[in-house]
Amino acid sequence: MLLIKSWKNGVRALALASVVSVAAGAVMAAPQGGGTLVVTTTPEPAIITNALSSAPTTAELATKIFDGLLEYDFDLNPKPSLAESWEISPDGKTITFKLRQGVVWHDGKPFTSADVQFSLMKVVKEYHPRGKGNLGPVTSIDAPDAHTVVLNLAHPYAPLMKGLSSLETPIVPKHVYEGTDFRNNPAVNNPIGTGPFKFAKWEKGNFIELQRNEKYWREGKPYLDRLIFRFIADSSTRAAGVERGEIDVATFGTINPVEMRRLEELPNISIAKGGYEAIAPVMMLELNTKRAPFDDKRVRQAVAYALDRNFITKNIWYGFGKPAVGPISSFVKGSGAFTDQGILKFDVKDRLDIANRLLDEAGLKRGANGMRTKIVHDVAPFGEDWRRMGEYIKQALARVGIEVELRNRDYPTFVREVHNKYDFDMTSTWSIGMADPTLGVQRQTWSKNINPEVPFGNVSQYSNPEVDKLWETAQTEKDQAKRSQYFHKLQELLVADSPVIWLMEMDLVAVQNDKVQDLITSPLGVRGGLYDTWVKQ
């Protein structure tokens, strides 16, 4: 073993030297066409048309096959995609898009305004789980000619312009879907899009292969000939595949944070940061505000004080994230919606004393064993790291006298007990905030979203008329500056009330081989079209 080790170090040193010299010579290298990119992701999606499902891996696949009307820069400002230009009327109730000409579907049929009309009204708004959020106020769409669409809105709706990417509102072909049962249409798993890659092959339990769309409207792109998504059930094996160079890119969640840090040390592998700004993922603890002891704001705040966000970020997630300020994350800084001014801060020096004082005030006195109360923490069934975070929470809360019992259940049981029956005290989860708080953050604390029929809504069952009113006003306000003021107020109110403890803004980094170039070129990252990505031969 020792021999192998030292031999390997030698190889590493050699490889490092060559990488350094290559890097020096390749600063200005132009993209090379051709080649195959092998990506691993998990779990294997059930379907690969994201107009009908918002499952994360479905989106990772489908965003290569479909385009949206718009794309976004890193500050989340809209950029042309299938729509070349757009105009919003002064009253904010009509939006006119000029569509790109000469775009063809993978089956050769021309792309027209009828496809956009159909996709938005009949497919995405009806079937995409977030469709109502993104397109709710759109009452009708006119198509005056083959390359113009006019969206008519019931009221101004600023978030609309943030939700038209291929991730949120993919454009699907009308001629394939019209008049069929969409979910059972064979095209769902043999999709036809306008995107940079065409669907080629799906070997279930093994891989999905996409091929270069020769007729893609972005001339000369994509650079890659093939894009392969491999599905491997074991995270250590995925890491071994990356280490051996069989896998070029591993998306977030496929490799444990601790392993990512180990792989990063290897000479030919690095961490690809960025590319989740438009997704704005935040990790959190939801508290049952309808049940003792968390029906008392002081107890909720005490929990917020007792947990060390820096410790969680550094030691459980190995630095892949940063401590969260509140529900609205710094990912949306560009639009002005984020603030950390005047927000209650829990990471203070005497936080344990404050937590103890709050619990005393709430009437939870320490008993003979030093404990004040006992709660059950339902750990999100997302893997090992979440269980470790649960163990940390148990220890941290024991220090202020809250005894925690950890409960780990399988996914369907977890969803049913916690999200459909609201039978829980405290539960961990993560949520995507999206490019606008109205789209992703509102659902966590808006009282109209307390609905046991639908998982992942307002699980805390938090109900506050002032908060409701702010969310609803921000929804219809046209002026972004005014909207930002509402969001700042929401941030302040919600953090002070702590129905949810927002722990960490997550970095959904990918692990990549250094031969992969320009992997992250949009705020969607690996969930974008990857048409700029190329492989050094």
Binding site: N189, G205, A233
Partner: protein, 332 residues
Amino acid sequence: MWSSRARYVLNRLIHGLPIIFAIVIANFFLIRLAPGDAAQVLAGEAGAASEEYMRQIRQQFGLDQPLYIQFISYMKNILMFDMGYSFRHGREVSSLIFERVGATALLMFASMVISVGVGVLLGALAAIKDRTILSNVIVIFSIVSYATPLFWVGLMLIIVFSIHLGWFPTSGIATVGSTMTGWQYALDIAHHLVLPAVTLSFFYMALYTRLMRASMLETLGLDFIKTARAKGLSDRKIVSRHALRNAILPVLTMAGVQVSSMLGGSVIIESVFGWPGLGLLAFESLFARDLNLLLGIFFLSSILVVVTNAIVDVVYTIVDPRIELKGKLAHG
């Protein structure tokens, strides 16, 4: 003789039908005791869902129907060998299963050959060379490989033979996206097969070694071996012609059990080596509450168990002609 064997197998299979039927009924109800349904899983994976969406899915999956109606329609279909539709995958259950059964069969067959072959050899050797260093080494080796968790063995083999030595790929059944055909393709699969097959063999090999050794030791002490020795037969002949055939019967029984569990595959091996087999499919469909698919796999497994048991019984009579097939066929 052969026709009687065929009749015996047929007879056994007909008797197996009610068993399979009972298994199907029990599975149908047992599986529904698991909390949560497919719609909740899909909605959960989506991260958000509307009430409308949940209702649509339940209606489409037939989950809104009363249980007895679901049961009647399922039984009707199964009688016509229609295993139903996996709504999660948007495919026929049968096509999903048959697509994966090849990979599982290949892995199982390879590991069966390795484990039975090596197991019988080591077991026999340990018995013949009883109370020597060799026999002790074999016994210790078999205990260690029996007791070591398979996932750990798998990962260690990957680290040593894939990452450090670079001899074998880390995972998968073939090089993805390659355009190989014919022999080249077969070799590529064989190359990918080595590590998972060897890993999976560890457990059964240990089992066969121990069974074979015990049974061989017993056989070697029997009178007919003494007789053979008295006749002046060579040791080689005694072992190969007389002892081995008698001692191998328990191994056959165990091999039958191994074949029966084939469709279930090995979730651990398939998961560690990214092997696209049935075990993982069953595992995933359990967590997705994809009941039709899961029931389909159970159904085929129960058929396989009944068929294998019948075949193993017949194989006994070939290996050891003194064993007779019971019942009216005994003198056939």
